[in-house]
């Protein structure tokens, strides 16, 4: 059964150990057609993610815990703030033997101010919009193992924990952010 909606062939560069560049033609599958329209059923999305992860964790209980990456304008249309807090808490409490699920919120606003990366407390939310504080409350506290990578990225070292939230990060930075704590071959160079 064909589940995808189309394919596309792209060229991917990779480096050989002798330094030369290899170009590979790669067929990629398109599973959804992205579009921006209609409402923001955030609560339903949290509940759907919850149900999917319950099954996944049941199957892989010893795995590294799931990371849920939620990209949003923050303006939920299907619930109150209280309901969102409850749903996000329910999602974040799902755990493997290695720890709880991390809910990483990437909040997009109309603000033209500089991005905010991994705030530690609400006072760090110096700009954003009316939903930014809610996004902070919905986000996970990141485990200490992320601290070194974040401190290197933000050039800011803290005592305590970072929150899994970024506000208005440009696309190029988002890729770097998602690598923090997940790239197994780029350890901390300070130690």
């Amino acid at each position: 059964m064909q589940c995808y909606i189309g394919t596309e062939t792209i060229t991917v560069d990779s480096i050989r150990p002798d330094g030369s560049v290899r170009q590979t033609q790669k067929k990629i599958y398109q599973w959804v057609r992205p579009c921006a329209s209609q409402l923001t059923p955030m609560n339903a999305a949290f509940l759907l993610a919850h149900d999917l992860l319950v099954q996944w964790i049941d199957k892989y209980p010893q795995s590294y815990p799931p990371t849920v990456i939620h990209i949003t304008d923050g303006a939920a249309t299907d619930s109150t703030e209280k309901q969102l807090l409850q749903s996000s808490q329910k999602l974040r409490s799902l755990a493997t033997e290695d720890g709880e699920t991390i809910l990483f919120n990437i909040h997009i606003t109309n603000s033209t101010e500089n991005p905010i990366y991994f705030p530690c407390k609400k006072e760090d939310l110096t700009h954003g919009d009316q939903y930014t504080h809610l996004m902070f409350d919905l986000s996970s506290d990141l485990p200490p193992i992320y601290n070194t990578g974040i401190a290197q990225f933000t050039q800011k070292d803290i005592k305590g924990s970072y929150t899994a939230l970024v506000v208005n990060a440009p696309m190029s930075q988002l890729i770097s952010l998602l690598n923090i704590g997940t790239n197994t071959n780029q350890p901390d160079k300070n130690l």
């Binding site: 050989r16 290899r22 290695d98 193992i145 197994t184 071959n185 350890p187 901390d188």
Partner: protein
């Protein structure tokens, strides 16, 4: 010199991604831990490293780079003919492994004879025994330990960074090693000393035992404050009534190295106690 080696896969799996090789003719012992989480062909790359590198002199960045290029080219040819989903994973992520070596370099008996013949024996200050030169080399979080019986001293490549950071890996698509992260050591050992090489699960367990034995509170506190699974393990070990000494821990492993099944059973016991991670287990013990 006697040596014992065993390597078993994760419980419930058929193949380990660890590799070891005893280059008996050169008295060189090698362990590599292929990283299953990076790219593909981890086992093959670990096997390549352990078989091709039979001395500390060979474990140099140029020789390893040549091995990388050969390994990569062979896989590239294969994947070009058998292109599938995994090919891209190889070209983007490569194959990665740790590597540790204990290199005695020469035949010990021959050397002893040579010293007698030449009248240039190297004798230990402690017990007037022969001292045999040993070179260590390591990259990543597989461990080497040298237990010197006369002094109860333990030499190792593992430090706090191996509990905090992702390990450095020899990756076949990365042209250069980070030479600053290569551990090397030259020392002498004498009869009765024990040299241990192990992949990370056992190595990090032994390193914690060592930290407790040496009352290395600074290291233990750093691990506790990290808030990781290792932190819980340190707490657990702190509260254990009969935490073994390093020597006792080695003896326990040795007693259970009589067969793969026995070793597996012992590792499973340690794992259910949360003293070692769920992983492939490789242990090589050399008794001088």
């Amino acid at each position: 010199m006697k040596y014992y080696a065993v390597s078993i896969p994760k419980f419930g799996e058929n193949q380990s991604e660890d590799s070891y090789c005893i280059h008996a003719e050169k008295n060189c012992f090698v362990v590599a831990d292929g990283a299953g989480g990076v790219g593909i062909f981890a086992k093959e790359w670990a096997d390549t490293l352990t078989r091709a590198i039979s001395s500390v002199e060979q474990a140099n960045p140029e020789y390893i780079k040549a091995l990388k290029i050969k390994f990569y080219n062979e896989r590239e040819q294969f994947l070009d003919l058998n292109l599938d989903y995994f090919a891209d994973k190889f070209f983007q992520e490569g194959s990665a492994s740790t590597l540790v070596l204990a290199d005695f370099g020469v035949d010990l008996w021959e050397m002893e004879y040579h010293f007698y013949a030449q009248g240039q024996s190297i004798l230990s200050e402690h017990n007037q025994q022969f001292l045999y030169p040993l070179k260590l080399w390591a990259y990543g979080d597989s461990g080497i330990f040298v237990y010197q019986k006369a002094t109860n001293n333990i030499e190792t490549n593992l430090g706090i960074q191996h509990f905090v950071n992702a390990p450095y890996l020899i990756n076949c698509i990365e042209p250069e090693l980070n030479v600053a992260k290569i551990y090397t050591k030259a020392l002498y050992v004498s009869k009765g000393d024990i040299v241990i090489l192990a992949s990370d699960a056992i190595a990090l367990y032994l390193r914690l035992i060592m930290a407790f034995e040496q009352k290395d509170e600074e290291m233990l506190q750093k691990i506790i404050h990290q808030g990781s699974a290792f932190s819980e393990r340190v707490w657990l070990m702190k509260n254990m009534q009969n935490l073994p000494t390093f020597y006792q821990a080695i003896q326990s492993f040795l007693q259970n190295m009589t067969s793969d099944e026995q070793f597996s059973s012992y590792c499973q016991f340690l794992q259910t106690q949360n003293l070692i991670d769920y992983d492939d287990y490789t242990l090589l013990v050399i008794i001088i």
